[in-house]
């Protein structure tokens, strides 16, 4: 957990993300680096022209999993603060869907923590995007989150 009085900023939002506000939130006098990740809506997917995306989330669980990521990177890396915002709803091409900012005294920790945060978010946070094309829409291929091992009594449904 963050020991700082100023807490991390973790949010699911429906309005456009303001990257500058997130950077300002994490940077302080003792920091020598702020590393950011700006995830944006691409205009193509698997060779098809994308029109827009629609994100939905299991919001309470997603926020809980984002909090776990923040706790993990504080444990793993000597960072100062982290801000993570993920947007939901319809997003147009070029808009920011997720933004992460990490501050630290020295740059390696901020780079490593930012990379860990986005990689873990994409594997464990229950958010889904639907991709809209000129000729239809599909739910994006995703990653299966790691789940606890089944006990011997568990039977697959099919």
């Amino acid at each position: 957990m963050a020991k700082d009085l100023q807490p991390d900023l973790l949010a699911l939002v429906r309005d456009p993300i303001d990257p500058v506000a997130l950077v300002e939130h994490v940077r302080a006098a003792e920091d020598g680096a702020v590393v950011t990740f700006d995830g944006c809506v691409r205009n193509h997917s698997h060779g098809r022209h994308t029109l827009y995306l629609d994100y939905e989330a299991y919001e309470s669980m997603a926020l809980g999993k984002i909090r776990e990521i923040a706790e993990q990177i504080h444990e793993k890396f000597p960072i100062h603060l982290v801000a993570i915002a993920h947007r939901l709803g319809r997003l147009e091409i070029g808009e920011t869907s997720v933004f992460i900012a990490v501050s630290s005294a020295h740059r390696p920790a901020a780079f490593d923590a930012c990379r860990f945060a986005i990689d873990t978010l994409k594997r464990t946070v229950p958010i889904w995007k639907k991709e809209y094309f000129e000729d239809g829409a599909v739910w994006a291929d995703g990653e299966i989150p790691p789940a606890p091992l089944e006990t011997r009594a568990a039977k697959p449904a099919s």
Binding site: H86, S97, K122, W128, I144, E150
Partner: protein, 100 residues
């Protein structure tokens, strides 16, 4: 697609006379298949999540086809499909995640 047996579910009825009231959430393509985002259901106390999924899979064969790619959650934590359910639990069946 074969209809799913309710064997696992029914055998639990004899083990427990208690009923669990559970809230269930569907997301992404599962929500489209089932035609609703959430449901409230009663089942024998202690039934595994797998039995609950089989119930919906029996009514929606297309749902059952996605079983291998799904992860279950109880009270907003990823759990094994054998996890028993009790009154007040909140369950979700989660397709592969694609945030970011």
């Amino acid at each position: 697609m074969a209809r799913h047996s309710f064997a696992g579910y029914n055998s639990l009825v004899s083990l427990s006379s208690q009923t669990a009231h559970v809230k269930v959430f569907f997301f992404g393509r599962l929500k489209e298949i089932v035609g609703r985002a959430e449901d409230s259901i009663e089942l024998p106390d202690g039934s595994p999540i797998e039995a609950l999924f089989s119930h919906y899979g029996a009514n929606h064969p297309e749902l059952a086809r996605y079983r291998a790619s799904l992860v279950a959650s109880r009270n907003q934590e990823f759990v094994a499909w054998s996890t028993p359910l009790h009154s007040g639990d909140e369950v979700a069946f989660l397709p592969p995640v694609s945030g970011g």
